[in-house]
Amino acid sequence: MRTLAPLALALCIGSTGAALAQDALPHHNLPASPDGNLVVGLCDGETSIEVPGVKPGEPMTREQAQRVADALMSEWRRKHPGVEWVAAPANHSTTPPEMQLADAARSTSGTNASRPASVTAAAEQDQAQTYGAFTARDRKIWNDSTEKLVAEGKRIFHDAKALGSNDAISCDMCHPDAANTHPETYPKYQVQLGRVVLLRDMINWCIENPVRGKPIADDDARLKALEAYIIAQRKGVALDYGKH
């Protein structure tokens, strides 16, 4: 076993870099009910309650479900005394929270004029605590992860082999910089196919026909990467689904 440990560690390190899209999503493991009742989890990933008299798979009435939701909420409040749950402000800004706090302190006019400054500050402070407690460093990591997926999509877009091509044709040969792929126009009725399609349907059409490969499955990491690259090339273009 001692000789295996370093190997296992190396495998771990190796897989974190490569498994960009394959990492398992975070999962809330719910405790089992001793009586075999339904257990429902809260979106904080920690809190859960048992629903007496309801077995897993059995339907609940709207009233029962509302009682469960209320119970979860009060359990969360019990765990977080003194923290107020506030709805997101209507004029949500993309300004980073740490700057919002400073802005909110100064802002008694302009876009926030309709609400008292104290309420705005409190709301944004609490929002920051609940959802938005992230820093510039976090944002950089997220941005780098996103760009990594886009770069992987760019690589596949330009690589006939990665696309599974049987005639050496790759996407970029007709779509330099993903030009003329107009992801912002989907979903739309594709006349030639006689149905409403998404961007991925057209990606797969091109892979099957000009590229002469096999269509990629919906959950294939390559398809996600291709979509990421194509959409990234149209940053700032208004969504206009259905456009011809």
């Binding site: 005639d167 007709c174 330099p176 003329n180 026909n209």
Partner: protein, 376 residues
């Protein structure tokens, strides 16, 4: 009797043939009789709404009867991008289709210009296959070089098949120049690239590692010497692969030293540049120079996001469900005036004629039909 359907190409060629038949009869007709033939023919074409009212240049051709220079037609095939047939047969079939188109012209064009990018990855077997296909053209062929033909072995195989990429010839009073315009400053040595990597980099239109196309100091010097002996009233036609102007830098729809080349052409009355590389209907006029882009037989490029010349008329965007759509070949009619009209023989669509008068008038006259499906 069952209804008969004819393809656009068939109808187009039939109309064209009938016009040329009428033209051949002109010698036997009085001037009045000629005007009747010309008027009727132009009327038929205009009524179909296919081309501008002056389609097929009958009037211009007629004027040539009395002028010193004879009008003539030459055809083109461009940007075939052929892999060897075992790798990809579609581009080979497209090239053969273009050869069939040109060989079916009656009367035959005086010659055919090939616009470059015969091969896709510059391999000798690709170029030899392409040379064999071009040999099946009935009319003489003048071949120009594209970057896909060149950057694997820096032109060694291409030169062994076709000679120098810079050459000129005179035909019926017009001076034709074929110039290598896809030189690039060395981006590969410092990066330690193999020949294949260099070729793949240049072949990627959106690959920003590469340099910008240029004629280069040596090419410009050759051009200056070549033009030195030519009278400024002689019409000049320049064949280049890249557009000899600056359209869109990121895709090398671009010639870095275009301004210096224009200066060499400035003293001539009629200059037309005919280029490949852009795979689209593309028109421009800068100073005294008309520019026509040629269609590809392999695939159409989208219009660049910026920089499209104002007088360019876009072709309808390509139908991805038809491998031949927005591809094609075409013809040029050298007018007695020294200017050139161009026919874009778009496969799967109506052909489009662009009159020199459209370019000369800066788009005020003879505008070709507009697209109903512009780029996104």
């Amino acid at each position: 009797m069952a209804p008969q359907y004819k393809s656009i190409e068939t109808k187009h060629h039939e109309e064209r043939e009938s016009l040329f038949r009428d033209l051949q009869r002109l010698g036997r007709l009085s001037r009045r009789g000629f005007m009747r033939v010309a008027g009727a023919a132009a009327g038929i074409v205009a009524a179909k709404g296919l081309v501008t009212p002056h389609g097929f240049q009958l009037v211009e051709l007629a004027q040539a009867q009395g002028a010193g220079r004879a009008p003539f037609t030459f055809a083109y095939i461009s940007d075939t991008h052929m892999y060897t047939r075992n790798v990809n047969d579609r581009f080979v079939r497209s090239a053969l289709k273009a050869v069939d188109d040109v060989n079916a012209l009656d009367p035959q064009p005086d010659f055919v210009i090939f616009g470059g990018d015969l091969a896709q990855t510059g391999r000798r077997d690709e170029l030899e296959q392409g040379a064999q296909i071009l040999k099946t053209l009935k009319a003489p062929v003048h071949v120009q070089v594209g970057e896909h033909d060149w950057f694997l072995d820096m032109g060694e195989a291409w030169r062994s098949l076709f000679g120098s990429p810079n050459y000129s010839f005179d035909h019926k009073g017009v001076h034709f120049v074929t110039i290598m315009s896809v030189e690039e400053p060395d981006f590969w040595t410092a990066r330690g690239m193999t020949a294949e990597e260099r070729m793949a980099t240049v072949a990627g239109l959106d690959n920003s590692l590469q340099g910008r196309f240029e004629v280069g100091a040596e090419g410009r010097e050759w051009l200056r010497n070549d033009l030195a002996r030519v009278d400024s009233r002689t019409p000049i036609v320049v064949f280049s692969h890249s557009p000899l102007y600056k359209y869109y830098r990121a895709w090398n729809f671009w010639t870095e030293d275009a301004d210096k080349v224009h200066a060499l052409l400035g003293r001539f009355e009629y200059v037309t540049v005919i280029h490949g590389h852009t795979h689209q209907m593309l028109l421009n006029r800068i100073g005294n120079i008309d520019f026509y882009g040629m269609l590809s037989t392999a695939w159409p490029w989208p219009y660049a996001p910026t920089g499209l010349p104002k007088i360019s008329v876009q072709m309808n965007r390509a139908d991805p469900f038809n491998a031949f759509d927005a591809c094609g070949d075409g013809q040029f009619d050298m007018l007695t005036s020294g200017a050139i009209d161009k026919l874009y023989n778009l496969w799967n669509r109506d052909p489009v004629t662009v009159r020199a008068s459209y370019l000369a008038s800066k788009s005020a006259k003879d505008r070709p039909l507009a697209t109903t499906l512009p780029s996104y």
